[in-house]
């Protein structure tokens, strides 16, 4: 069994954390920003040093390829270099760095693979600068309209299309990831949750990405002066919204212990301390791998009371996604590689969305999770010890080498 290098992986992590360093232990590296372009430059430099052929497609996705011994479609390992605002040093970038480390191990150890091995960087996975998230994998796999993606603007009014042109990384559409040139796709990622850590597992063998629904719940009350309106005559939208949030928790908690649901965003109008709120809108995100449980959650949301504390209640679905199942053969290959290396592991579903879920539509694909300390993600506390990251790299390397023999 081949193993990657802890020292080399540490060096990669230490180097890439400087691109967008916020000085607080985390990074802000928005897609196609100067910080993200600096990270790309370092990626290209290191890949070229290994003699890899580097190309880009029309969405500026980067492909660095080690040749294979036979004329066969190749393997791709990919993730993203962009982060959320005040994000951490592992979400996305670790998938790129471990892929680079796998390639470097193949190159250093002179492993002769039958198939080419490509390390890939997806443009704009987070969607923090240009919406939507997973933009480029969405376009490349036909989920998103390219023209709409190009027209997406950031908070300063910059169009994604112009940022793409200015980046210097825009290439030809014919270079896109696809079923012709490629055999399959692996993506290593931190779990972004506490399950592996709580169960003391080294590796998450990812079977798929859970289905989800996203609703906006609207509560309409009446604004009046906080000092002059008797309590009994009020139609306070925030009071009613507080009741609704607790009601939703009570009802959704009864459905299934693995159902996760979140009110992460709330908008209150007019949001002035001396005015009774007239309007509250809050998000409700619910996820589960079983479509039946999602359907039950939707029933709960649709059957909210029409009025509560004098306020009008309504709920509108914003979007949903069905559960994505990864390729059984690739999932098994990851499991076998973990087993052979002697790592503890468990099968798991991803609760978060990843580029791999779109790739799964056009190629055999799967993911490998490594534990997130404290389950934290999208924050400066995001952390995974390099030894734990290395376990994941070793699993990816050996799953590829095993699949390459088939």
């Amino acid at each position: 069994m081949y193993t990657c290098s802890l020292a080399r992986l540490q060096n990669k992590i230490d180097t890439f954390k400087t691109f967008g360093d916020t000085g607080t232990g985390g990074i802000t590296r928005l897609s196609l920003s100067q910080e993200a372009l600096a990270a790309r430059e370092e990626f290209v430099k290191r890949c070229k040093a290994m003699g890899m052929q580097v190309k880009t497609d029309d969405m500026a996705n980067l492909y660095a390829t080690l040749p294979g011994g036979e004329d066969l479609p190749g393997f791709v390992m990919g993730s993203h270099l962009d982060s959320v605002i005040n994000g951490g040093n592992y979400d996305g970038v670790l998938g790129v760095l471990t892929a680079m480390e796998v390639a470097e191990t193949i190159w250093t150890e002179k492993i002769r693979t039958r198939r080419p091995v490509t390390v890939m960087v997806w443009t704009n996975e987070e969607g923090s600068r240009f919406e939507p998230a997973m933009m480029s994998s969405g376009v490349v796999t036909g989920k998103f309209d390219k023209a709409r993606a190009l027209a997406s603007t950031d908070g300063k009014g910059v169009r994604f299309e112009d940022a793409l042109e200015a980046s210097g990384y825009k290439g030809a559409a014919e270079n896109r990831l696809g079923a012709q040139g490629y055999a399959g796709y692996f993506e290593l990622h931190i779990e972004q949750g506490p399950v592996l850590e709580m169960e003391n597992k080294d590796i998450g063998v990812v079977e798929g990405v859970v289905g989800m629904v996203n609703y906006t719940v609207t509560v309409k009350g009446v604004s009046d002066h906080a000092g002059t309106t008797p309590q009994k005559t009020r139609k306070d939208a925030l009071y009613a919204a507080s009741q609704l949030i607790l009601l939703l928790w009570a009802r959704l908690s009864k459905l299934d212990p693995e159902l996760v649901f979140t009110t992460g965003k709330i908008h209150v109008s007019p949001n002035i301390h001396t005015v009774i709120p007239k309007l509250v809108e809050f998000s409700l995100d619910a996820r589960h791998k079983d479509p039946n449980v999602i359907a039950q959650a939707v029933e709960v949301i649709r059957n909210l009371p029409e009025t509560l504390s004098g306020c009008q209640i309504s709920a509108a679905e914003n979007w949903g996604r069905k559960t994505v199942l990864f390729d059984a053969g690739y999932v098994n290959a990851v499991e076998e590689a973990a087993k052979e290396a002697g790592y503890s592991y468990r099968r798991i579903y991803s609760g978060a969305g990843h580029d791999a879920q779109y790739v799964a539509d056009i190629l055999p694909a799967t993911m490998i999770f490594v534990p997130s300390v404290g389950g934290h993600s999208h924050c400066v506390e995001e952390f995974t010890p390099t030894e734990a990251c290395l376990n994941g790299a070793n699993v990816m390397l050996n799953a590829i080498l095993a699949t390459d023999k088939l």
Copy 2:
């Protein structure tokens, strides 16, 4: 008994509602904005047409005075011309327009008062552009530090001091309202609540302004990914905040039926639909005329649980004010004038703050309320029929004339 003119008052209301008209039935007329300056120009023009002497003080408060027959301190009727964003056509401006109408009646009817009668416009009562609210009455009565008021900036970074200079209305500090030149102060205002309407009363004889406390309650949880964090391991600050809001309502509702309390403002961080909220801060405003009830409300707030659903809870007092009692003689004069006119009335406390509460510290002062349809205020629905406004003007006129004879 003298009476004001319905037609003239209607003309004033119709004219002044054009200054800052939002086209939706309301106005946005922020302090010292072009819209507010246009309203001031109209005010000055109309007052000068009656031969009134117009002057301003160092906070750009406007004073338009009809002379009296004797060398005595004068009466002041005042309120403000500025509004909140998307405010209505009655809060503040009605106090100025009825005062102008009272002066116009005295002038037209050639009523010989012993004392001068001044109509006053306070600068920046709302505090919607420059914080704090009631800025100029606060400075003139020594509640606020003038230097801090001058340094207040609006959302575009404009200093209040610069807006004051640019307005053309900045005058001398020696022109300020004070105990030397003035005998007492009347302020007519809409109730901004539903009590007069519900009880079918024409006039509110305002005894004082209720005491209040304002707290910020902080709930600290932990941010994690909405899709990957099992429900049982979450420390969701918005869930805990929802529980707290209901707990506060339950406990405060038991204290006294006249206690009003409001959570009007909430801030959630990071406020993203896919992230469990880590921090929630919400306002709690509580008001009652009886300091003992306020003290009980403060006890409830101070005795919130220290932790709830895994989150840390704390509460900090932002400010408070004691109940302000208006001058008994002036309150009686208003009541007598209402009674003589045959209007229905009730004694009432103001739940909202008004410039009159600061003036009460330096001069005998009181207020007159007219009903608010639906109790609405600080919104485009704000409305009081002109007939009902006229009742208030008549009460103010006759209370002044009666007091003038003393």
